[in-house]
Amino acid sequence: MVLHLLASSQPQLTWDIGRDVRQLLEFPFMVNAFRVGTIVAVTAGCVGWFMVLRRQTFAGHTLAIVGFPGAAGAVLVGVSADVGFFAFAVAAALVIGASSRGARGGFSEESSVIATVQAFALACGFLFTSLYRGNLTGVNALLFGSFLGITNREVLTVAVLSAAALAALAAMARPLLFASVDPDVADASGVPVRLLGPVFLVVLAVAAGSTGQITGALLVFALLVLPPATAQRLTTHPGMGVALSVGIAVAVTWAALALAYYSSYPIGFYLTSIAFAVYLLAGAAGRIRRPRPMAATS
């Protein structure tokens, strides 16, 4: 009896999986956390797959961070966080997109522009939070996220933004794939390569930023890069790759949420650690069945 009381006051993992799941979903905030986590994972799995294919991890990391000044600035001015985040995300994506257009061949200045955008965005976020004079734990929440206290409204916002990003991605998936794998041939066949680059960056920014408000700016990146990189280690087939990437992202997010619920450590730690472990395992598995060489590209 006493044991039972203890168990119900503080969640404890048992061997009864049904009971664990019921316990996990006992509170509305955890249900919402699972909803948002799933949406975020699906979006990150899809958009991230293209990001990794295009080797735009640096741009992706920068755009994931842009949600931070956006949200902080919106709080300062007193408008909805979505407005602030949108303004920053689209602006950053367009600046980065414009920089990659300038240089042709040889060394490109894209990376120094991305770095400056990122540092400036973070500096703005820092300025906004210090002007707001709110408590400094707000910074930690914005950067590292918190799955607690997600409202139904926030779930809806994330769902709408993610759906928009996924729809845009689906609409341009084929030409984007072509342009990513072989830009020169795609250009010659009439694919608007120069337009697709910036548009994809905007999609990436919307996907990363909207999810970043919940999971934290610094950790969206983990979901954007690790599951897709794992999937690309396992298969080169695009459809299979995206499906695998989404599957890994969702599984990792659920596992991390459950572990964070049953322990006192932050979700970000579990999320990145599980995802990285899967990534390493995929690398080891790939090395074992190496005999079959990576076809097509190289």
């Binding site: 400056t116 955008v117 540092a119 930690n140 950067l143 006192s264 730690f269 990145t272 650690s273 990285f276």
Partner: protein
């Protein structure tokens, strides 16, 4: 130094009436002098290292190292060690690790991203343990590591900063020739007997040391602006490597001085913000001016 600072002070609205008096006032504070000395040394080193980072397209590695600096500092604090020990061990260690993971001393962007996403997770864990273990007064530790606290540097910290920065500048200068060769044409450099891999690893260790040291001044998250921004501007302005190297360093130092003066004149602006904002403004100005000029002798070494 005063001669260079004066025009900056003139631009500042607060000091408009008496720029010299304002400058004297500013330099009268110990913490400002400390910040200026340390900031100058760090900016000079960051500008030089950053030039090679941009030339070698390794800026993302620096991005990763700046986040690793955050993890290192917080893990050290959690273990009860000096934050600086964690900073240097983590950044230089991970820099060398990343260097050995890829072919020819540089890792693929995806490998870099995957590794540092995980290390960031460890940093989050350390932050949570550290802030929950110390009930009050430690909540700002994470923020300080992330965004820097240049005015919080004591005299010993300034001395360390200057020594490390001087070391980075000297070593970069020593390996500059082979590094430049290896960066512009790796294959030919290797054929000529330049130890491409070793030079690349030494350079990554230098990046690590710079990231660790700069974390104290502008914070783990903002180092990137000081590393890559001035270098990007310098590349736009000149195609000559030695001139570019000196220019990148000078721009970084100028932004540091200007930023500190600006945040002194307008106390609501945090120093880290002012420094990075000046770098970004200078970059935008360079691009805008470049639009009106024919690009004679473009930088591309092809």
């Amino acid at each position: 130094m005063t001669g260079t600072l004066a025009p900056v002070a003139v631009l500042v609205p607060w000091a408009g009436l008496a720029p010299w008096a304002g400058l004297g006032h500013m330099l009268g504070h110990d913490f400002i002098r400390n910040g200026l000395v340390a900031g100058t040394a760090i900016a000079a080193a960051a500008g030089m290292v950053g030039y090679f980072l941009v030339l070698r397209s390794q800026v993302f590695t620096a991005d990763a190292l700046s986040h690793v600096a955050f993890t290192g500092a917080l893990v050290a604090l959690t273990l009860g060690l000096d934050a600086r020990v964690g900073l240097f061990v983590a950044t230089i260690g991970v820099a060398l690790l990343l260097g050995t993971m890829g072919p020819r001393g540089r890792a693929d962007d995806v490998t870099v991203g995957a590794t540092f996403a995980w290390l960031l997770g460890i940093g989050v864990l350390a932050l949570s343990i550290f802030t929950s273990g110390h009930s009050s007064g430690q909540g700002t530790a994470g923020v300080n590591v992330l965004f820097g606290s240049i005015y919080g540097l004591g005299t010993p910290a300034v001395r360390t900063a200057v020594l490390v920065a001087a070391g980075v500048v000297v070593v970069t200068g020593l390996i500059a020739r082979p590094l430049l060769f290896a960066s512009i044409d790796e294959a030919v450099a290797a054929a000529r007997g330049v130890p491409v891999r070793a030079v690349g690893l030494v350079f990554l260790a230098l990046v690590g040391a710079t990231a660790a040291e700069a974390t104290q001044a502008v914070g783990a998250l903002l180092i990137l602006g000081l590393l890559a921004g001035p270098a990007g501007i310098a590349m736009r302005l000149t195609a000559r490597p030695w001139r570019g190297l000196a220019l990148a360093s000078a721009i970084a130092v100028g932004a540091m001085w200007g930023g500190l003066a600006l945040s002194y004149a307008v106390p609501r602006l945090p120093p880290s913000f002012s420094v990075i904002a000046l770098v970004a403004t200078a970059y935008v100005a360079t691009v805008a001016v470049g639009r009106f000029q024919p690009r004679a002798g473009a930088v591309t070494p092809t």
